[in-house]
């Protein structure tokens, strides 16, 4: 095998080794971090419906947001119509 290929095998070996080492460490740290977070701030209502600055589509929540909007509009219109009738 040529010098170059040998160097390549070294690179691949150390490379994959490092990538795995890094991500295995990250798994452990992440698990530890999540555990610590849930210990020190236990029963909070976790997934707050956060303000969406992202443009990513996620059909689920989008749809529910829309229907909520719609409900509000219908409510507003209903109120307006009622008011309108009273003022007649």
């Amino acid at each position: 095998m040529s010098e170059l290929m040998l160097e390549g095998f070294n690179l691949a070996l150390y490379g994959m080794g490092f990538v795995f080492t890094f991500l295995v460490l990250l798994v452990f740290l992440t698990v530890a971090m999540s555990a610590a977070v849930s210990r020190f701030s236990p029963p909070a209502p976790t997934v707050v419906p956060r303000r969406r600055t992202s443009k990513r589509k996620d059909s689920g929540s989008g749809a529910s947001a829309k229907s909520a909007d719609k409900a509000q509009i219908v409510a507003a219109i209903t109120a307006a119509v009622r008011q309108h009738r009273q003022s007649d």
């Binding site: 170059l4 390549g8 691949a12 150390y14 490379g15 991500l23 971090m33 976790t46 443009k55």
Partner: protein, 376 residues
């Protein structure tokens, strides 16, 4: 009369060389793929257009003082453009699914095998005397297997700028082809039974975890692989801005005006590397061939890693999501979801596949750091 001849000699018709004409056709094909086939249009449209501009004879656009050459030296030689793109991508990435199931990080690790196998492939070509790739060039070609555009452009700009055009075109084309490249490999390596595996709904992840994760990641990078710090640093900054909730106006700009502006300029700068002299060389064919190998091996190793994890653990994961470990966000995750639904209509893998998908971004940035560290 002399002046008329001079004018005629200044036209493109007179000066056009066949290889420039060929590159203009190649650029038109890229534009066709971007527009008609929706192949990664955000990048391939400016790249293809930049390629056309770069091959117009008789005017300096991509070399010397030309505007594309200026964009190149401003943002690609310096690494600034891909890093700002990474900032924007970070600000659009949701690590929630990954945090809910951290072991999917391992799938993102396994899929990077495509990178290193391709490095070996490139060197093997050199060994055979087919091409003459140096180790730096081989490393830059390998990173195509990371299936992550800005990472590939960043590494190519560092290690082998002379191949940047071919590497970027290869990376983005195959990313667009993920829905065609991956399914046969995924089907070949899994049984119908495996593809039917349903996964339990992901737990809710708190904002605090989402804020701490990018910091944790950056600290680990700082301790273990500093040369990945520019890429992952900008990525983590973007993500921290997104999750912390106190700098929303910055996040919004990073997700829109900033990343869009840089995308246009980066695309044009990459397009400037499609000049005929640099792109129409045999090694471009080698790069295109190696690129598809890289994607295929990455896909396969992700799936196999998932099967290995199933063999060793009691909580089963659907091996299809392993293929999402190559990154190619969010296409690869969608492919996994599609094949899952195909096998079992009640099988919704999209969210589960987003975990390995973003893990693949981390994985290939780490691999990029190692390559730069060892051969750079």
């Amino acid at each position: 009369m002399d002046q008329l001849i001079e004018l005629w000699q200044s036209t493109g018709i007179y000066q056009m060389e066949p290889k420039q004409l060929l590159m203009i056709l190649v650029s038109l094909v890229l534009l066709y793929l971007a527009i008609a086939k929706k192949f990664e249009p955000l990048l391939l449209l400016p790249i293809g257009f930049g390629g056309m501009l770069a091959n117009i004879p008789g005017v300096e656009i991509a070399v010397g003082d030309g505007v594309l050459a200026q964009f190149y030296s401003m943002g690609l030689s310096t690494g600034i453009f891909p890093l700002l793109i990474f900032l924007g991508v970070g600000s659009m990435t949701d690590f929630g699914p990954l945090l809910a199931n951290p072991k999917t990080l391992l799938l993102g690790a396994a899929a990077q095998f495509g990178i290193f196998a391709t490095v070996l492939g490139a060197l093997f070509f050199s060994d055979l005397g087919l091409f003459d790739f140096t180790i730096r060039q081989a490393a830059a070609i390998g990173i195509i297997g990371g299936a992550d555009g800005p990472t590939a452009i960043y590494v190519a700009g560092m290690l082998a700028p002379e191949l940047l055009g071919a590497i970027a075109v290869s990376a983005y084309s195959y990313m667009a082809l993920v829905p065609l490249i991956q399914p046969p490999i995924m089907r070949a390596l899994t049984t119908v039974q495996e593809r039917k595996i349903e996964m339990t709904q992901l737990r809710a992840v708190s904002q605090r975890e989402k804020i701490l994760f990018p910091l944790l990641l950056l600290i680990l990078v700082a301790l273990v692989i500093p040369s990945a710090a520019p890429l992952l640093g900008m990525f983590c900054l973007g993500n921290l801005m997104r999750e912390c909730g106190v700098v929303d106006r910055l996040t919004k700009t990073a997700q829109n005006a900033l990343i869009n502006t840089v995308t246009i300029l980066l695309g044009l700068a990459v397009g400037s590397r499609l000049i005929a002299e640099q792109f129409l060389v045999p090694s471009t064919l080698g790069i295109l061939a190696l690129g598809i190998v890289a994607f295929s091996i990455g896909t396969a190793s992700g799936v196999l890693m998932a099967k290995l994890m199933n063999a060793l653990s009691s909580s089963k994961i659907n091996p299809l999501i392993g293929a999402a470990g190559v990154s190619a966000v969010p296409m690869a995750a969608r492919v996994a979801n599609r094949l899952g639904t195909e096998a079992n209509p009640h099988n919704f893998l999209l969210m589960h596949a987003m975990g390995p998908n973003v893990a693949g971004v981390i994985g290939s940035a780490v691999a990029a750091g190692i390559l730069i560290q060892i051969v750079g």
